[in-house]
């Protein structure tokens, strides 16, 4: 047992682990954003609202059909992804040729609409959603009590992140996608249906947001504001990691979670500003982000 700056090592390790858990949420969410921006050059401000919809979908499935957590993990991302496909088809296709900033404003407007509708219907207080039976309880690791659910969150997020990275960077489909971003006309000439790929990619990114929502439902308050509370932080993560880089989003997400966790120990009042400060510094020194490539 030793002390670091007056904090016992036990507490420190505990906080680091907790930071890692938060980091996995950041990584999962920023992964979706990075996929969408990297592949489609769309700044998806609606991401927070889609995350919220994922959590609500899990809640509604449980409330109205009795479908629990495990099936929701599969059903909800598909449903939310389908909603994403709808959004892309109806709204985003039309503004493809315009300046990026219009996309930002449009998705911002969509986020307001979605949050407003949910608020009207469900109120702001939040809905109950419990930790699934099989993951309840926890184990005493000696330096802290780790709830099983949190351990699951780290493991599963890590897996999803790795799988996504692999799919995009190492498979053929992924390479078509990356090529289509750089030169859509040429890729189309090869007979590949680029618009459909774009739509599906957006749907996939949104589905990731929905997945993060399901995973958040048991531990965070399921309320219409949960998306806007987290979206700005996730944007900061993506910008730091590099807006087009998948690996960047993953690594930065986990790292920033740990940094935030450490700040909570040594300087808790600053724990929500530290990410922005890092973002400003990174943007000044390396504007494309730590792993990014400037378009």
């Amino acid at each position: 047992m030793f002390e670091v700056f007056g904090v016992p090592s036990q507490a420190l390790f505990g906080q680091l682990l907790l930071g890692l858990i938060n980091g996995s949420f950041y990584a999962l969410l920023s992964l979706g954003l990075a996929v969408i921006f990297g592949m489609l050059n769309i700044i998806n401000f609606t991401h927070g609202a889609q995350y919220m919809m994922g959590a609500f979908a899990a809640f509604l499935l449980l409330r109205h059909t009795g479908i629990g957590y495990w099936p929701s993990l599969v059903i909800v991302p598909i449903v939310i992804g389908a909603v994403g496909v709808g959004i892309e088809r109806v709204f985003l296709k039309r503004i493809q040729k315009l300046d990026h900033l219009y996309g930002l404003i449009l998705t911002f407007g969509l986020a307001l609409i979605i949050e407003g509708l949910f608020r009207n219907y469900y109120g702001s207080s939040g809905q109950p959603y419990g930790v699934p039976e099989s993951l309840q309880g926890g184990r005493n690791l000696g330096f802290m009590f780790l709830p099983n659910y949190r351990a699951w969150v780290i493991a599963f997020s890590f897996l999803v992140c790795l799988a996504t990275w692999y799919a995009i960077e190492r498979t053929r489909l992924g390479s078509y996608l990356r090529a289509a971003t750089e030169n859509p006309a040429l890729v189309r000439a090869f007979g590949i249906n680029v618009p459909r790929m774009v739509t599906l990619t957006y749907g996939f990114g949104v589905g990731l947001a929905g997945l993060a929502g399901v995973m958040a439902a048991p531990i965070y308050n399921v309320s219409p504001q949960m998306g806007s509370d987290i979206i700005i932080v996730v944007f900061a993560v993506v910008v730091i990691g590099g807006m087009g880089s998948i690996m960047g989003a993953i690594v930065t997400g986990f790292t920033l979670g740990i940094v935030e966790g450490l700040t909570k120990v040594f300087f808790p009042e600053a724990s929500n500003t530290v990410i922005f400060m890092i973002m400003i510094i990174v943007l000044l020194i390396r504007p494309a982000g730590l792993f990014g490539r400037m378009a």
Partner: protein
């Protein structure tokens, strides 16, 4: 690269449209408090100035700042604080707030200007969010309560601003003057360079202009005028609160400018009055405000990019 604001015809001969619209504006502003509730008009005027300041940056330079609430809100705080705690008379309180906004604009501008497009927007958002979090915690701002019961004082020691009509005259005069200033900025050689930067920055650089300096000056001007609007508003409502520094306020000014018409002179003014009026009317059905705002954003981007005044100007083929 697609430009942000729809290009409007720039023909010197059609300045008459601007003169006519300007005259109509002055008449309306003078008549308004006798027809509408003066406090509502004052509020709309402050927001109109805020939107015009924002439009200077977005519509004429092509820089989308998602954190303009920083200058609006903090100028309000400082003006309110100096009036209430230091007892400064209103002209000095407003001046103090505005100067502070200029300083903040300079610091933020130096940091943000170095990047373009989306990165610029993200930096401004991050800065504004940080200053919001600071406002939440620093005792001077009163946190959640804000600074309340701000005295309006006596203008130049003579005019008692607690009289609504006197206050209105003050606010209207300042806003109209600032508005005229913006018009002169846009229609000067400086303004032409800004528009050139918006259309094609590379070309402007190759013509020998130090675009970064121009952008910085525009940014500081925009921040200063936004600060002026915020300081005035703090005195009108005798209150400075967190709402004014929150990022949703930054979003609102984008909304007003978009609805009114990016890159037009009168657009943001119209947009501000419209959005303000709409919120006023909807306050009894508060639940739908968020949804309607979002819907307006979506519709504007999809089908109505030129905004109200922009459409009008295009149809009439004049400059507004």
């Amino acid at each position: 690269m697609a430009t942000l604001a729809a290009a409007t015809p720039v023909r010197r001969e059609t300045e008459w449209s601007v003169a006519v619209a300007g005259a109509a504006l002055v008449i309306l502003v003078i008549a308004a408090p006798f027809v509408l509730y003066p406090v509502f008009v004052m509020k709309a005027l402050c927001f109109a100035l805020f939107a015009c300041a924002f439009n200077l940056l977005l519509g004429y330079v092509g820089l989308l700042s998602f954190g303009h609430a920083l200058y609006f809100g903090w100028a309000g705080y400082l003006a309110a604080y100096s009036a209430k705690v230091w007892g400064l008379p209103p002209e000095f309180a407003v001046g103090f707030g505005t100067t502070a906004a200029a300083a903040a604009g300079l610091i933020a501008g130096v940091v943000a200007i170095r990047r373009q497009g989306i990165y610029f927007a993200m930096i401004t958002l991050a800065l504004a969010q940080m200053m919001y979090l600071v406002a939440l915690r620093v005792p001077m701002t009163g946190g959640e309560d804000g600074i309340q019961a701000v005295p309006r004082g006596k203008l130049f020691g003579a005019f008692d601003l607690s009289n609504e009509m006197t206050m209105y005259a003050f606010v209207a005069a300042v806003v109209l003057a600032a508005f005229f200033l913006i018009y002169r900025i846009i229609n000067s050689p400086f303004g032409e360079v800004l528009k050139a930067i918006r259309e094609n920055e590379q070309r402007a650089v190759s013509l020998g202009y130090k675009t970064d300096d121009y952008k910085l000056v525009a940014f500081v001007l925009s921040a200063t005028l936004a600060g002026l609007a915020g300081s005035l508003k703090a005195l009108v409502f005798q209150l400075a609160s967190l709402t004014d520094v929150h990022w949703t306020m930054s979003g609102e000014v984008v909304l007003m400018t978009l609805v009114g018409g990016l890159g037009t002179i009168f657009g943001p003014l119209v947009g501000a009055f419209l959005i303000d009026g709409m919120e006023n009317y909807l306050s009894s059905f508060g639940q739908w405000v968020l949804v309607i705002q979002g819907a307006v954003f979506v519709i504007c981007v999809l089908a109505f990019r030129r905004g109200i005044i922009g459409e009008l100007a295009a149809r009439l083929r004049v400059r507004l």
